[in-house]
């Protein structure tokens, strides 16, 4: 690890990798200013469609565009197949783990994972013990972040099994690319992603609650915390694309443990809720009593099998960064298989040896908060000053159990349009898995790109952008 990053377009010997052959030839052919013009056009397009992302706490207009890079990231069908096999395996293991920790705790009893990491986890919901959810599926929609470090080496960076967002960008990016560069789609045969909302609806409908009256067509809704949520645009988008109602807590009520929404033609029963708010806010009777975003009695209705929630309550225990290190063990334990997709080697600072090593090698490592997200609360050793490192060292020493450390990965790079022209920038990838009666994923995902030269932080809140991700037909 470390060293020269793997570039996805240009091999070490300067030749163009097969996946990019069509794109590279096209880039050579087009007028020099075309990409720049298309880039401006893309901005207008996104602004008009209102595809914004809210960034708080930095002043200025909180509704901003995520920078969109018009140069696609391309993977071959073979690369995608092997990656997706690893992802499917992983999400199956995560669901098995979630079922287990809310039932028999076999994995703990087998000594594969420390009990306090599960039961002592802030995201563990004791209320879910013994609750049987439809199909034993807990995470219906999962976003698993992967990075590439070499021709045949992908690592999972983190699992997002609560309410992963960003899928609307995957869809809108493709939409934009097809408008901006129809000719590129003629050169490359790109597998479509546009059927994601259909697959999502099918997947949600495939797991109706036990008492659902119409199991062929259960009533599905998208539940949003409201217009001020940073991902509100996506909630609107998904509800519209699926043709289902977008509801807030205030639109629903529970009577005799049945959930209804208020419509102009009277109360209508709700069977499955694709909820885009955290567990804590779902039901003030069961969780945070201060929540005004939730629905009183929702959790009781859920426990009784009268409504299904996607994702289930309590999934956060499986995507915690300290639990992450055990996912390969989960694959072995539940599926009896070797993991097809590796974790990034990770030091768990709750362990004395790992802590010692980490403190000695801070300038080389990336240190993350166990519960952090969005690229906040992390230290990228090689990019930090001595002062920053020393300040972070104190935070680690105060609460080592709150941190994990990983070697600085040489994330792969992709050609990206930046101020100085087309240059390599680091990328990651979030594919979206849909788990219903079966596991589905559309070929593609959200590629995030660190637009600053040399930067490894791809989060949109930290100056990252996105790219369309193409999986070629074989």
């Amino acid at each position: 690890m470390g060293g020269t990053p793997f570039d996805e377009m240009t091999a070490a010997d300067g030749s163009v990798r097969a996946a990019y052959a069509g794109l590279a030839a096209w880039l050579k052919r087009i007028p020099a200013d075309l990409i720049g013009r298309k880039r401006l056009e893309a901005d207008l397009l996104f602004r008009r469609l209102g595809i914004t992302f809210a960034v708080y706490g930095e002043g200025g207009d909180p509704e901003r565009l995520i920078p969109f890079d018009v140069i696609p990231r391309i993977v071959t069908s073979a690369e995608w197949t092997s990656l997706s096999e690893g992802l499917v395996q992983r999400v199956q293991a995560l669901n098995a783990f979630l079922y287990d920790v809310y039932h028999d705790m076999e994995i703990v009893r087998a000594g594969k994972i420390p009990e306090e990491l599960v039961v002592g986890n802030a995201q563990y919901r004791p209320e879910m013990r013994g609750v049987d959810v439809p199909g034993r599926i807990y995470t219906h929609i999962a976003g698993i972040d992967v990075v590439r470090v070499a021709e045949n080496q992908f690592y999972v960076l983190e699992d997002n099994v609560r309410t992963p967002s960003g899928v609307s960008y995957m869809l809108e990016n493709r939409e934009a690319m097809m408008r901006l560069f129809p000719e590129l789609f003629a050169i490359n045969r790109v597998q479509p992603v546009g059927h994601y909302p259909d697959e999502l609806l099918k997947s949600l409908r495939s797991l109706p609650p036990a008492s659902c009256a119409d199991k062929d067509e259960p009533t599905v809704v998208v539940m949003t915390p409201g217009a001020y949520n940073s991902a509100y645009f996506e909630h609107v988008f998904l509800a519209e694309q699926m043709g289902v109602e977008l509801v807030e807590g205030q639109d629903m009520f529970v009577e005799n443990d049945i959930v209804y929404m208020r419509t102009v033609s009277g109360p209508k029963r709700v069977d499955t809720i694709y909820r885009r708010l955290d567990d804590a806010f779902l039901d003030p009777d069961a969780f945070n009593p201060e929540s005004v975003l939730g629905v009183r009695g929702l959790f009781a209705a859920y426990r009784k099998g009268n409504v299904n929630l996607a994702n289930a309550v309590g999934t956060g225990v499986a995507d915690d960064k300290s639990v992450y290190t055990y996912v390969p063990d989960m694959v072995r334990f539940y599926l009896g298989e070797e993991p097809k997709l590796a974790n990034v080697p990770t030091y768990s600072l709750r362990k004395a040896d790992d802590l010692k090593y980490t403190l000695e090698h801070l300038p080389e490592l990336v240190v993350k908060e166990v519960h952090g997200s969005g690229g906040y609360g992390m230290l990228v050793g090689p990019k930090s000053t001595k002062e920053e490192i020393e300040a972070f060292r104190k935070r680690i020493e105060a609460h080592p159990e709150n941190y994990i450390a990983q070697p600085t990965l040489a994330l792969s790079t992709c050609p990206t349009y930046v101020d100085e022209g087309i240059a390599p920038r680091h990328v990651d990838l979030r594919p979206y898995l849909l788990v219903g009666k079966e596991v589905k994923l559309v070929p593609g995902g959200l590629t995030r790109v660190a637009l600053r030269k040399g930067s490894l932080v791809v989060n949109s809140s930290q100056g990252g952008g996105t790219k369309d991700t193409w999986v070629l037909e074989s």
């Binding site: 409201g226 977008l246 205030q250 208020r262 419509t263 009277g266």
Partner: protein, 315 residues
């Protein structure tokens, strides 16, 4: 369709219409303050505006004197006054924002641009642009918004809720405007039929864009009874009570058919519409104009409540 969606659309258009009506009230008061004779103090010129807007008490609470600038500031710009033009536009926009998917992009843009401009205005700015120009601007933005909705919305339930909001608010406003004219603007019986009276009734007609229509229909000097007839009973006067209730009846009937339910609101609107259709102005004056208008205003309140109940908007 979610009840909250219906409520947002309904309140969005009610508040837009309210902003327009407030601009009309201010416009007519301002005109009258220019044309009235000297003996009329500031108070008698501007008090009616507060009464018709239903803002008498909240204004009193501010402790400010009833005079042109204070009243205009309170009714047009004051963010703490829920009925001011500014607040109405804000509420309309917030309702639209909460249900952006229910309206067309063009409607959102029309409303959002209106709010963004409104937000930047203060008294000095509207004085600089000219008060009349400001009132005209508000009316124009309301016309634009209504027209864009009419021209771009699919004719579904959402469209009906938008229109219901417009016409209920308009009926309410016309009734209040007429009522205030009759009772507040005439300090003494001696004024009736005098020059002051002429200007005041003329201003009232202008405030509902009915001055030319009056001339064309009656070819007569302005007589209170005819003004009342025009604004209450005529079926060719777009801001008359009869036309507003005709629209309301039709819209609520369509919703009844769409959802196959029995709505109290549809029956209430129909009752009022039939009174207006078959009523004669002599009957109205026999009952007493004020009594009649009070009945209309009260029945509007009942109708608003029935709409909220029928479509589950109360929660």
């Amino acid at each position: 369709m979610l009840s909250r969606a219906a409520a947002s659309l309904y309140w969005m258009s009610r508040y837009m219409e309210r902003a327009e009506n407030m601009a009309r009230i201010l416009d007519v008061s301002y005109r009258m303050s220019l044309s009235a004779s000297d003996e009329h103090s500031q108070r008698t010129q501007w008090e009616p505006a507060l009464v018709v807007a239903g803002c008498e008490l909240p204004f009193k609470d501010t402790g400010r004197k009833i005079e042109a600038r204070n009243v205009i500031e309170f009714l047009a710009l004051d963010a703490s006054n829920m009925s001011s033009i500014r607040s109405s536009l804000w509420t309309a926009r917030e309702n639209a924002r909460a249900m952006r998917t229910q309206i067309t992009t063009e409607m959102w843009e029309a409303l959002n641009a209106t709010w963004l401009e409104m937000r930047s205005l203060d008294y000095a700015k509207i004085e600089a642009m000219g008060l009349r120009a400001f009132f005209d601007w508000v009316k124009e933005r309301s016309h634009l918004f209504r027209g864009v909705g009419y021209g771009t919305m699919p004719r579904d339930a959402a469209y009906r809720f938008v229109r219901v909001g417009t016409f209920l608010e308009r009926a309410d406003s016309t009734a209040r405007l007429l009522d205030v004219k009759y009772h507040v603007l005439l300090p003494t019986a001696r004024d009736v039929g005098g020059a002051v009276d002429y200007y005041q009734w003329g201003a009232l007609l202008r405030s509902v864009s009915a001055f030319q229509a009056y001339r064309r229909i009656y070819r007569d000097v302005i007589r209170p009874r005819r003004v009342a007839e025009l604004l209450i009973l005529r079926d060719d006067m777009p801001r008359s009570l009869r036309v507003s209730f005709g629209e309301l009846t039709q819209l609520l009937d369509q919703l009844r058919e769409m959802f196959q339910r029995d709505y109290l609101s549809a029956r209430l609107a129909d009752q009022m519409y039939n009174r207006l259709r078959f009523g004669r102005i002599d009957d109205v004056f026999e009952q007493g104009l004020h009594e009649f208008l009070t009945e209309v205003v009260n029945s509007n309140v009942a109708l608003g409540k029935a709409i909220a109940d029928d479509f589950g908007m109360t929660y």
